[in-house]
Point group: C2
Chain length 525, copies 2
């Protein structure tokens, strides 16, 4: 009895000491020791298939490019660049050219692309590295709708867009402000890029993505960067990136290639992403989808090197499965997770940075389905060795909606992944022989020197999960995860403070936006 009492007393001391220290240093969920401008991964990649399989996939990608080819539409300049580099035009109409590439040609062109580069942020403390062991998390991108528990689903507005930029900026677990976090559908199509880029520049001080929906909008994005960073700096530093989609299967649209050329010519970064919905625009079998993904993304990346050798380019992978019953895309399913792991292996063999996966779900609610699917997909992203992980926060509804609640849930998960990617240290201190030896068999470790040394930083401390006892949780309102997330995003927006910006620069940016808006009539399509 005395023995048990001693254990309990020691435990209570340990707990009090722990609590006291935490109370001094941080709110719940702070995890100050894990905060970084980007993650430097300390866990190995999870390599799914062997050398022979990788070679067969690469050979198939080469065969696709050599025998089926890629169609380039509406961009004679891009075709000219590919031809100069050795591609053959095997078929053409007035507006489209089918190009083939001898095996190995595209890989040869890609040799000038950097394996790792820095994207600069207006706050230099937030510069991110892309490539190597660096991992960068960015919000989801491109949904027309937004949703929250109070108002349900509705079209996104510029107000929503700003809110999500602010929520992203508020999270220590994202590293990048992303791009089209949601479509601001209340702003004319031909002008919304100006408001979006301005919002990233004003309400965040992290790196971000520019517009890609038309070459002149890409140019506006780069021009606004020149105002923010200075023209000389922009010419020699990557300060903005464009996120470009191929038109699968095996087509590069002229708007896309012209945008890619714009970013590359300015020395800016670009992401080259096939969106492969299996059975619709790619084979249903993952090996084939991955081969096609590699082929399309490599050709798209290669264009940057033909415009400006050394321009940063990121290989992209976005593999989706399909519902057997509806034919609609499904997300967070096992097969694309496996495909992502293999894309990571292929990117490393090419020595190129990779964008891959994210927190996907088809659920229409921030519920169990949403987070199960999100976690399966996101684990594949961090395990495959992806460097830039767009869609880290917010997606629901098969990519169609940004959810305010899921955004903060995903941010919390992104925090947990910081702890995961920190890996396991194995040394005398962490092996902790002395911790067990101090009190010996049958004795609790609450009060050991080792426990007190490690108490605050040993474990990821979620800011959103509920770890209380059932009774305490029940007495205090019995809230579920979504309800807590609803309160969280509101409190984050309430307490948000915009990072300081030079007033002259801010004025120049606002003048630019105003001028460009006044130069053309509104277009709504």
């Amino acid at each position: 009895m005395q023995h048990d009492t001693q254990i309990a007393a020691t435990a209570a001391r340990g707990r009090r000491r722990g609590r006291g220290t935490i109370a001094r240093s941080a709110e719940p969920g702070q995890n100050l020791h894990l905060r970084v401008p980007y993650i430097s991964r300390k866990v190995p990649t999870y390599d799914l298939v062997g050398e022979e399989a990788l070679e067969r996939i690469e050979a198939t990608a080469n065969r696709i490019l050599a025998e089926i080819g890629i169609v380039v539409r509406d961009d004679a300049e891009a075709v000219h660049l590919y031809r100069e580099a050795g591609a053959k035009v095997i078929d053409q109409t007035a507006e489209s050219w089918r190009l083939t590439f001898a095996p190995g040609l595209v890989q040869e062109i890609l040799k000038t692309a950097p394996a790792r580069f820095t994207q600069y942020a207006r706050n230099p403390a937030n510069n991110v590295e892309i490539g190597g062991d660096a991992v960068v998390f960015a919000p989801a991108y491109g949904s027309p709708f937004v949703m929250d528990l109070d108002r349900g689903r509705r079209y996104g507005t510029i107000e929503d867009f700003k809110n999500f930029v602010k929520l992203a900026q508020s999270s220590p677990w994202l590293h990048h402000s992303g791009g089209t976090i949601c479509e601001p559908t209340d702003v004319p199509v031909n002008k919304r890029h100006l408001d979006m880029v301005y919002a990233h520049m004003r309400y965040s001080d992290r790196a971000f993505l520019g517009s890609i929906t038309a070459p002149e909008r890409a140019a506006d994005s780069v021009e606004m960067c020149r105002l923010l960073f200075g023209a000389d700096f922009v010419d020699t530093h990557c300060v903005v990136m464009g996120n470009f989609n191929t038109t699968s299967p095996l087509v590069l649209d002229g708007v896309t290639t012209a945008g890619i050329r714009t970013y590359a010519a300015a020395g800016q970064g670009s992401i080259h992403l096939p969106f492969l919905l299996g059975g619709a625009v790619s084979p249903l079998t993952m090996a084939g989808a991955v081969a096609q993904c590699l082929a399309e993304s490599m050709v798209s990346c290669a264009l940057t090197q033909l415009v400006r050798p050394g321009a940063p380019a990121i290989l992209g992978s976005f593999l989706s499965s399909m519902s057997l019953r509806s034919g609609s895309p499904t997300f967070g399913t096992p097969e694309p997770a496996l495909g992502s792991l293999v894309m990571g292996q292929l990117a490393r063999r090419l020595n190129l940075p990779l964008r891959c996966a994210g927190n996907f779900s088809t659920s229409k609610r921030p519920d169990g389905q949403a987070m199960q699917q999100a976690m399966m997909s996101m684990m594949s992203a961090v395990q495959c060795g992806a460097h830039y992980i767009l869609h880290t926060a917010g997606f629901l509804d098969g990519l169609l909606s940004m959810s305010y609640e899921k955004f903060v849930m995903d941010c919390d998960m992104a925090g947990a992944l910081h702890a995961y990617l920190a890996g396991m240290e194995v040394d005398e201190e962490t092996l902790a022989f002395e911790a067990l030896a101090q009190n010996g068999p049958g004795e609790h470790l609450f009060g050991t020197d080792h426990t007190l040394r490690h108490y605050e930083m040993a474990y990821w401390d979620s800011g959103l999960n509920d770890d209380r006892t059932f009774e305490t949780w029940d007495e205090q309102g019995a809230e579920d995860y979504a309800t807590r997330a609803n309160a969280r995003w509101k409190s984050l927006l309430d307490s948000y403070e915009a990072p300081a910006i030079d007033e002259g620069i801010d004025e120049a940016l606002r003048d630019f936006v105003e001028r460009r808006k006044s130069e053309e009539p509104d277009a709504w399509y």
Copy 2:
């Protein structure tokens, strides 16, 4: 325009054809091609740390056993066996002995333990392999409470216990009936094992776990197996296993060791599990927790070999983090996930089967937190190479409650993991060059021969996720995941049919239960 119309028509044909075929062959979520009595993994393990780190952890485990030792309480026979094998008693009282083991001694004893064995089920089609590339999923184990959306949390009853056995039996994605799925608290403590073992035998035809709470209850479990399988068969085949906990740190309780001896003497299997709550009963740092886990589990496993060389023994790992604020265990967090990966590496070096992790969560609801935590934990289980994964379905509330809703959610996730563990096939057929070549760039693949060949089996088809469009989902009731899961478990129980059993055997089992119950007065503690 005509071109787009053609694509749409082809797509619609593809969808119709797919739907038609599915309607003929299966309900939603059937995935008949993935159904197996146990999984044969086709993905590699995810190895977190290198050889040197593993050697340091092993050296620390050896040092713990050699310098601190293990205390055995209340079991002179176990102490005798360990001493005969070379352990030294360095300290003792009337009821406890502290034993030390020279480095390598325990590993030497374990050499007779099988790397892989079969646990036989009463339906031979449900025999499971444990070890090697086999993976077995079993329900959660040991919670005093049950919960569902209708009735909230309450103490578990034998009715709940039977319900969970039936739900497990109904799921193609579990392979094993588990053990104490919930505590039937309405049955006296000294008799409930009889009702539980009978329920597994009667309402399931899969393999299961027996009782371990007292040596005589372990003996009853084995005796009932002799009635079900025949005494001769039981003597030469593993038909039941016991799930034993060490009393961490570094203690083996006499009830446990006597139970282990009972199972081993009968040639039956046993699992040897330290429950390591970091900071309380193990170091907070994962390397130390893993070293301790290895030390404790190895010594516990070794006892089986001293009783009966060749008896099946399973290494166990149950690593938990702690809430900084309350001192209570947390689950589904990143550090234990990393620890599990390393335990997998260590088990392979010992050439022993491993039980590890499961679908853990501290959430009190089947919500987003629950499934995010569950997925992080469960991914570590399947990636670390664990062979027997107890706690695959049902846990909420920090292991204190079995949730009816989460049970069916977890079963669906277990199904998805069947697809994940099937890995990626890379061959001419899956590389699918012809699928892309058939229609060429810019043309959808809905109607290609390859798509039609692979349509039904390419992707995991969840039976519980919602993949409909928002509009369809909204019109049809806008249900969240938990609500669908609530309907699902009810319909599964409604349609449950008990597997046939020989009437004579059933009668013998019921007689045994009745007789044993009549032999002692009810005990409620």
